[in-house]
Each structure stands twice: as C-alpha cells, then as structure tokens.
C-alpha cells in the first residue's frame, strides 16, 4: 500500500531529526519528535498533521538534497498528511479524486451550477417578478433549505466518521476541557505559523521569513468564520424571529457577511499568489492542483457573495445567485474531500499533542 511507503520515508527522516534536533524551536512537530525514541505509523501520521508546511525546517536543514540523507521534512509530512486525509475519508474514492485535481473541482462547481439552474427553472415565476421578490423569488426558501440542509449535514457525518478513524489511529484518548483550551489557543493565533520566533514561514521567497502566509491564512479562516456566522444568524432570524431576507446594510447578517466576504476574498487571492511563488517540491506536488482549486473555489464563494450584496437588485442577480449557490454547494459537498479537511485533522492533532504534553 502506498501509505506505508510514504510513512516509511517520513519515519526515516524523522529519525534523522531526532538525532539532530536543530529545528526544535520552529513548531510543535520537533518537540513531539524529541519526546520519542520509536515512531509507530500512528505517531508519524500525528506528526504529519501537526506540520503546517512552513518550510522553515527545510531551508535550515544541512541534510537536504543533494546530501545523501535527502531530508525534506515539509514534503514528507505533506505526503503522509495528504494520504491520511484520503485514506480515512468516507467515501475514500471521492477524496482521492478531488484532492488531486483542481479541474475536477471546477467541474463539480459546474455540475452544481447546472443543478441549481434546473431548480430555478422549476421554481421560477416570471422573470420580472423574481427580481422584485428578491432571492426567494428566484429560488424559494424551502427549496434552498431542501438542498442545503443535506449538503451541509452529509459532509459533517462523513467528516465525523473520518475523524473517529483518525483519532483511533493516532492513539487518541478521552478529551478533557484543558486539551481544548490548549489546542484552540494555538489555533486562534496560528501559533506554529509564527515560525517559533514570530517571523513566519519560509514560503514564497526561499529562506526569507515572512508572515504573508500566516496573515493570508488568518484572513481566510476568520473571513470564512464571519461568512459562516452571517449565514447562521440569518437562518436563526428567519426561523426563530420570522425575519426573512433581504436584510438592510446595518443588520447583523450583512455586516458579518460583507466583512467576512471582503476578508475571505483578499485572503484567498493572496494565498493563491503565494502558492504560485512557492516551491512545489516542498509540499505534496501531487495535490497542488487540488489545493489551488480549493483556494480559488473559496475565492469564488466570497466574491460572488459580495457581488450579490451589491448587485442583488439588478438584472444580474439570478445569474449571480446561481453561481454563488453553486459554488457554496460545491464547497460544502467537497469539504470532506478537499483541503478544507485539514483544519479538522490539524485540530485533532493539536488536541492529541495537548493530551500527550499534559501527561509529561
């Protein structure tokens, strides 16, 4: 099986690091290595999901190629990590397909688009009326819910099963509150992305430290969370307070949504440009396309969302709405099978790391 080969290679490198230890201050991976003498497959997978590919340890390493030790920790970790996401995914086949291919991801969006347009057609009253009635004139709220509730919950079920499998494989134990406070603390600050000294990654310009990737990632994460909050608030307002959309500018859903959308658009754009400049060979080159596709998908989700806010009362609305809903639908459905999954695994690994540290 492929994964054993990848793990074998990562283990070989990790054992070199354990004899060296020069990179101890970069991130959580090295202290975790230096606590052990032997590394099971689960240990290696756990280490791989602790790594966030900042590449500091690659440029600092005296054993990178052409040296015969051929150490390339960011790549080795990326490959194990990637394969763990694919192997534990349900269904695994979907993960294997979409992680690798940005093109297939785009096709998924187009398929979703066709589906949404079909819905429109079935639901649509006359064109002029639709515009006057706002979004729900184009697609009634109930139809939207009928599509998006399963599109939201099915992936969650899939992810839950994957995480359970993963948690078992890395030897995870019962969680306590302290583990969460410890792990979430690092996530909120993307602590490890600081490179251990606050100057960030070695990502887009070889060995130069830069916080560009850290800030882009923060923008994506917080932008996404704000957008998500906006939708959640709107849903609550709709069902519990009988306040259906559209909402005015100074309403909670809009304020959250616009801020989130702007931050998310900028974050994804900047991440895509960083990715173009970074060395592909220091990550899992096999999934570069899928990763890029995912960043661009998020970009489309956020920009079409913003465009809807601005052009929601023009003739462009139905088309924009279709594209937006299609990209959101594709995004939800692809969550278990795209880069989006990394957040879940990483959190699990940080929790596991917190558990192990608590026992020392």
């Amino acid at each position: 099986m492929q994964i054993t080969k990848t793990i074998e290679e990562a283990r070989r490198q990790v054992e070199i690091c354990n004899a060296c230890r020069y990179c101890e201050s970069f991130c959580s991976v090295f202290p975790a290595i230096n606590r052990e003498r032997h590394f099971s497959d689960g240990d290696i997978t756990q280490l791989a999901n602790l790594c966030h590919n900042c590449r500091g340890c690659y440029y600092a390493c005296q054993y990178t190629e052409p040296h015969e030790f051929k150490v390339n920790i960011p790549k080795a970790m990326a490959e194990v990590r990637q394969e763990s996401w694919q192997d534990y995914a349900v269904p695994a086949m979907a993960a294997k397909t979409f992680h690798k291919s940005g093109v297939l991801m785009a096709l998924a969006v187009i398929a979703a688009l066709a589906f949404i347009l079909l819905l429109f057609q079935n639901a649509a009253p006359a064109a002029g009326e639709a515009q006057a009635a706002g979004f729900y004139g184009v697609l009634p709220h109930n139809a939207m819910i009928a599509v998006f509730i399963p599109a939201f919950f099915l992936p969650i079920i899939s992810i839950a099963i994957s995480l359970r499998r993963y948690w078992k494989s890395i030897g995870g134990e019962r969680l306590r509150l302290a583990h969460f406070t410890n792990a979430l603390g690092s996530v909120a600050k993307l602590k490890d992305l600081s490179g251990g000294q606050g100057e960030g990654c070695n990502f887009e310009d070889e060995d130069r430290f830069s916080n560009a990737r850290r800030w882009s990632h923060q923008a994506i994460m917080y932008g996404f969370l704000l957008c998500f909050a906006s939708t959640s608030v709107a849903t609550i307002m709709h069902y519990f307070f009988n306040m259906p959309a559209p909402y005015p500018l100074f309403s909670l859903p809009k304020l959250l949504g616009i801020t989130g959308g702007v931050i998310l658009s900028l974050g994804t754009l900047s991440m895509a440009s960083l990715k173009l400049r970074a060395d592909k060979n220091l990550g899992d080159a096999r999934v570069w396309g899928g990763e890029m596709g995912f960043v661009l998908l998020l970009f489309v989700v956020s920009t079409t969302g913003l465009a809807l806010y601005m052009l929601g009362s023009t003739g462009a609305m139905p088309a924009l709405l279709a594209i937006h809903l299609a990209s959101v639908l594709a995004f939800f459905l692809l969550t278990p099978f795209s880069k989006m999954i990394h957040g879940f695994y990483r959190l699990a690994s940080l929790l596991r790391d917190a558990q192990i540290k608590a026992k020392l």
Partner: protein, 463 residues
C-alpha cells in the same frame, strides 16, 4: 569570459567567518566580493553544521541563563587546551563574544533555548534557531542586501605575495581561471581536513579510513599556498580534532547526527574483539574527543560498541539504528568480528563487574575489579538481550594548523604583517585553540575575528 569585479575586498570562503567579515566590511562602505568554493546548496562550510556559539555574559541574556564571566570562560579554555593558547587573542575573543550575540541578532540570526539533551550548555552556549545553516542563510541575505557580491563554485587557487602585499587573487570559476587585483583580501577558507592525503602526511595511511564530519570543500588550498610562500604558521600540523562517530556515516558531511553517545554505557572492542580503553573514564562530553584518536590507533581504524537492552534509552538517538541481536555471538557475526572472542571478552568483563548504584548522569564509581583495562564508572554487566552494536570510526572535525595573525587579524608574513591580508575563522584558530576543543568556541572565534578582519580590511581599502 573573465569575471569582472570592482570589489575593494575579496573574501575567500563562504562560512561564518567570511560572512561576518563581509557584512562588517560592507557596512563600513567597502565593495565586497565573496568567493565561495562550494556550490550554493553546500555553501557555508562547516558553519552549516554548527548549532551554537559560546558566549560570555554577566547576566541572563537572550536565551542564555545565569552568568558566564570572562574568567570562568578563560579557565575553561585553559583546561581543554592544556595552556596551548595565545592569551591575548583568547581573551580578545572571549571579551568580544558578549557583544556578538546582539550583533548576530541584528544581522538576522535567531536563537533558541538549549536543545533537549543539551541542558549542560544552557548557561554557556547560545543555540541558533534551526542550526548553522539557518545562520548562514540569514547572513547571506543580510550581506546581499548590503550589496555584497557572491560567486559560488569559485575556488581560490593562489594568492600572489609580493613584498608583504597580496597583489593578485587567482581562482577557478565555471571551468576557467580568473585573476582579480583587489585592494585587500580576507582568508576565511577553513582548515584542511577534507584533504585526506594531507591528513595522511601526519597520520600515515590510517588517515585514509577517517571520516570527515564536515564539508568536503575545506581542503586547505589557500592555507597551503600561503604557508608555502613563507607565511608564519601556528598550531600543530600533525593534529586534528577527531571524535568517534558511527562507522556507517558518509565519508563527508555526516555532521552532528552521526555522533554516538553510548560509549560510557558500553563495552568497546576492536576488530579482534579485544577491549582497549576505559569506557567509563569520565562523563561523555569530556571524553568524546579522545575516542577519535583511540579508534584511529586500532587495527583498520575501527571499533565496535556493545550495549544491552537496559542501556538503549540512556543516550541521544543517532542517525542509524543499532545492529540488534539476541545473543553476543549473533551480534559478533552481524558486525563481522570473531564471535568466540567477543563472548569471552564480554564474559570476562561481566565477571569483573561489581555491585553498586548506577547513576547514568554522574560519575558513579561503579567500576570493574581486576580487569585491564578497567572500566571505572557505569560498569554494568552486558547481560540483557537483545544486544545492540554500533561500529565506530574516527570522525575529523577540524585541523589545528593555521595562519599566524595578530590582534587585528592581520596575517603575519616572513617580514612582519602582510599589509593587505587578514584571516578569520578556522584558518587562524590554531593560535587560540592549540589543542582540544571547547564546545561553541569555533563559531565565537569566527565571529569575533571575522568582524575584526572586515573592519580592518574596510578601513585599509577605504583610504
């Protein structure tokens, strides 16, 4: 195509000493060209393998805890060198080490607390975040931002010395030879340990079996060229710093990960399965350097360390897993040494072990009785399977022979100082480290004298 350069100062080498000199000279306004013999991927010589430098400090400073004053530092140096040092230069290096740390930080070097397993150095040595290659990378960035030019794979072959002046620097680059005539030259091209023929002149053919822990590019070409032209030398030409490392390490550039820290908990034999030295003479950091020479003196320059299951986790892991076997005889077979003889050596050793308390981290006095050579500490019988073995070879860290300099880092020729030639780092360290080694002092010497050389050369070139 001839290399065009209007550089005032040519610096030979691309390691720590060269870079400290380049940055200092460029900051003083000089135009600087670095000629680094190695390709870019291997730039930085032995400096890329380092992890820390030894730093005097009066109170806690950056990652350094407590205090480490100049007197204690100097005492430590006297202990390891047995007095073979130049007190003036040594004290200069020690006193200047304190201001090096903030200077290094200002030029991009980042520090980290002492690594796990090296607590004993937390007070005296400041560790580089990411190690020496990260330090070297940071310095190249800083130097290039200051306008320093760098040529890789540019090997200096000859310096023309005429009446106490260097008049030309000859080097090969991209398959052709080139000549430059800079105002000043700084030699920072390290020792000669990668030239095993040269090592063999001092050590005999045994040297062919030595492994070189660092870069293959330090072949002492410039050192030899200058000594041949009558430049004064320091340091014992026949000595090198050598430690016992894993016999499976690569010929060059194995670096830190090939070290083996298990000797104090082991029995060490030669290829005839005979013991030859007290494995428990002192704590390992104080003894690891003599084992390089001990192994060098054995047939085929090889040794074998044997431990049993109870000692496996007492020392830092090394890069290659140990050879493992269920019996001593099987282990001997796997390592290719006589099985019966090894069994009897181990039995004899086991019989000489006495009862007592075992303390892995201190001299515990748990000694053998009536055994020659004795094992005077940590002598526990080798009885618990599985048994583990490593082969040991001599790993050369650096050589002692160097150029004589004064306290301005100026190189001393047959008729006094050479007007426009300075030296820094390993190539002149022999005057301060005449013998032995003090962990982290190599980088201190390179940083202090690199900065001095850069300043002096710039001052000379600027008028």
């Amino acid at each position: 195509m001839a290399v065009q350069s209007d550089a005032d100062i040519v610096i030979i080498g691309g390691g720590n000493a060269a870079l400290c000199a380049a940055i200092t000279a460029a900051e003083a306004g000089a135009k600087v060209l670095i000629l680094e013999g190695a390709p870019k991927a291997y730039r930085g010589g032995n400096s890329r393998h380092t992890r820390n430098f030894r730093c005097m400090h009066q109170k806690p400073m950056s990652v350094l805890v407590d205090r480490y004053d100049a007197d204690e530092y100097y005492e430590d140096l006297l202990k390891v060198t047995g007095g073979k040092t130049d007190p003036e230069l040594a004290k200069l290096a020690i006193n200047a080490s304190e201001e090096c740390q903030p200077w290094m930080e200002a030029n991009g070097v980042r520090f980290q607390p002492s690594l796990s397993g090296t607590l004993s150095l937390a007070r005296t040595n400041a560790f580089f975040a990411g190690g020496g290659k990260a330090l070297v990378n940071a310095y190249y960035r800083t130097a290039q931002a200051l306008g320093v030019e760098v040529l890789y794979e540019a090997k200096v072959t000859h310096l023309s010395l005429e009446q106490n002046r260097v008049t030309a620097v000859e080097f090969s680059y991209q398959g052709e030879s080139h000549i430059l005539h800079p105002k000043a030259v700084i030699a920072a091209s390290g020792g000669f340990q990668a030239d095993t023929d040269w090592l063999a002149e001092a050590w005999g053919p045994a040297a062919k079996n030595f492994l070189i822990r660092g870069t293959p590019y330090n072949r002492g070409v410039v050192l030899k060229d200058l000594l041949d032209q009558g430049i004064q030398s320091v340091g014992d030409p026949t000595q090198c710093h050598a430690v016992a490392i894993d016999g499976r390490a690569p010929k060059f550039d194995g670096g830190i990960v090939t070290r083996l820290d298990c000797v104090p908990f082991s029995v060490v034999v030669n290829k005839n399965a005979e013991r030859f030295y007290d494995e428990g003479e002192d704590v390992w950091p104080k003894r690891y350097a003599i084992w390089g020479r001990l192994v060098a003196a054995q047939p085929d320059q090889i040794g074998y360390v044997i431990i049993d299951a109870k000692s496996l986790n007492l020392f830092m892991p090394s890069v290659f897993p140990p050879i493992k076997a269920d019996s001593i005889a099987e282990l001997a077979e796997k390592m290719g040494i006589p099985a019966e003889k090894l069994e009897s050596t181990i039995n004899e050793f086991n019989a000489a072990c006495t009862d007592g308390d075992f303390h892995p981290t201190e001299l515990d006095g748990l000694a053998t009785q009536g055994l020659t050579p004795p094992k005077t500490n940590w002598a526990r019988p080798i009885t618990e399977a599985p048994f583990y073995g490593y082969s040991l070879r001599t790993g050369v860290t650096f050589t002692y022979l160097g150029l004589k300099v004064d306290k301005t880092a100026q190189v001393q020729g047959p008729q006094g100082a050479v007007e426009n030639l300075w030296a820094a780092g390993e190539i002149m360290a022999g005057s301060i480290l005449g013998q032995g080694y003090l962990a982290g002092f190599g980088m201190t010497i390179g940083t202090v004298f690199g900065r001095i050389a850069g300043k002096e050369a710039a001052q000379y070139a600027n008028h």
